[in-house]
């Protein structure tokens, strides 16, 4: 009976609530803080726009989980895509993210980014880090949340939420609409991404 109670107490203490309370926020918060500092260094140190873009692109390559994000953004259509389409989609999508975000990241002053909280997702596979940055136009703080996965090799970003709006979810909705109007074919969104990234048309 005593050992049963001990096991029960052990179980109660290490239930999801207790585990969630024991989640260490510091590593994920330090990760985001470290990334923002790297961006600040690039913005300050390098004046050549092309070199800045290349350095930010390298930073994005090292810290964005491109394939995982691409799978999410394509949603249920990922399973219907051919291997060639999947590969091309991941490559083009990664390129479009780099093109879209390299300039935007440098336009935000991350020097005073406040990294103030983090929490783990219910299944424990994702961490959300909460930050505030100052909008350069209005001077007002903007809430930016960073969703991370933590593979063995370290954290990677899978999504960014600006004032509660998920970039990945928004793109998923847009791409679903493109594919639906393209007869359910992934090729429809590949055409858009080729135009966005000015990539050459692939051989069928």
């Amino acid at each position: 009976m005593r050992s049963f109670l001990t096991v029960l107490a052990f179980f109660v203490c290490f239930s999801s609530g207790a585990w969630a309370q024991s989640f260490d926020k510091q590593p994920s918060m330090a990760y985001i803080k470290g990334l923002s500092e790297k961006v600040v260094v690039i913005a300050k140190k390098e004046q050549d726009k092309k070199i800045q873009d290349d350095q930010v692109a390298t930073l994005l390559n090292e810290n964005l989980a491109y394939e995982r994000i691409a799978r999410f953004v394509l949603g249920k259509h990922w399973a219907n895509a051919t291997e060639a389409e999947k590969k091309e989609f991941v490559d083009l999508y990664a390129k479009s993210l780099r093109l879209a975000y390299s300039r935007q990241i440098l336009s935000v002053d991350l020097k005073d980014v406040q990294v103030y909280d983090a929490f783990v997702s219910p299944q424990g596979q994702m961490v959300t880090v909460k930050t505030k940055v100052i909008n350069p136009d209005s001077g007002q703080p903007v809430a930016i949340d960073w969703r991370l996965i933590a593979p063995p090799e370290g954290y990677n970003i899978v999504d960014v939420l600006v004032e509660g709006i998920s970039v990945a979810s928004s793109q998923r909705s847009e791409y679903a609409s493109i594919i639906q109007r393209g007869g359910g074919k992934v090729e429809a969104v590949l055409i858009k991404l080729r135009q966005d990234t000015q990539a050459p048309v692939q051989n069928p």
């Binding site: 999410f72 809430a143 709006i165 847009e174 609409s177």
Partner: protein, 265 residues
């Protein structure tokens, strides 16, 4: 009153229609609400046409007006004008926070209105904000959501932002003609022209403040058809964030996490 009753019964029919009740509640799964767009947008045919009309009117009327207004508006007046219009919303924020049981936020809204209307010179200066009394923006659509009313169908209205049946009823009918004190002030002083003029002025102010943002957003979409889907998703997510006052991260993460790792057992 008769007009309001007709609007109320319209709302009751459409918002509590079982066809829309199958969508996820705002209270339990905000991420689910914005993931299943087929369920969220049963009037897609109508909405796309109205959206196309709104884009056309924006391209040829509203945006040029906003650009002209932005040109003549001095830079140093942008913030005070924003503050002025925001201040006019504070009584509504107060009432809706009270209706939602958000006592502290109601207190903040009332404090903001009182301080900014007096020391802030009719709301031109955000004196309360300088003292860290935060904005707690609410409307009756959010109040209905907190009370458990389903959002109803996604609804694009001519010359209005994307909305839902619940939120359109709450913001336009209830806030606009029942809860806001300015309606009664204007009505009692035979000054409804000023009331609608103020709404038009605020509309133009917001459009002028978002000229570049809107253009950049539109450029990210493949075409106006995709832009419709993007705006629908953005407006849904933004609305969820407003309803939950940013306090729904864990529910939202659960849905996202499930989809992110859908390929894993």
């Amino acid at each position: 009153m008769k007009r309001f009753s007709l609007i109320f019964f319209f709302f009751v029919f459409w918002a509590w229609n079982p066809a829309y009740a199958q969508t996820a509640s705002d209270q339990t799964g905000p991420s689910d609400v914005c993931q299943d767009m087929n369920a969220y947008d049963p009037w897609e045919g109508w909405n796309r046409q109205v959206f196309a009309f709104n884009l056309f009117m924006d391209d040829y009327l509203i945006k040029p007006l906003a650009q002209g207004y932005d040109f003549i508006r001095p830079d140093f007046m942008k913030k005070p004008l924003n503050n002025f219009y925001d201040n006019l919303h504070e009584p509504l924020n107060t009432v809706n926070n009270l209706l939602q049981g958000e006592w502290k936020r109601a207190g903040d809204s009332w404090t903001r209105f009182f301080v900014n209307s007096t020391f802030g010179v009719l709301g031109l200066f955000d004196v309360a904000g300088d003292e860290n009394v935060q904005v707690a923006r609410e409307d009756f659509g959010q109040t209905l959501a907190v009370w458990g009313v389903d959002h109803g169908a996604y609804f694009v209205i001519p010359f209005y932002k994307p909305s839902t049946v619940r939120d359109a009823f709450g913001e336009i009918a209830v806030d606009g003609f029942l809860l806001t004190p300015w309606y009664y002030v204007a009505d009692n002083n035979d000054a409804m022209g000023w009331y609608y003029g103020r709404l038009a002025g605020e509309f133009l102010e917001v459009r002028a403040d978002n000229l570049e943002t809107f253009d950049n957003l539109r450029k990210t979409a493949a075409d106006d058809e995709s832009f419709y889907a993007l705006i629908r998703s953005l407006s849904c997510q933004k609305r969820q964030a407003e309803i939950h006052n940013g306090r729904f991260e864990e529910n939202q993460s659960a849905g996202f996490e499930q989809e992110l790792f859908a390929d894993q057992p």
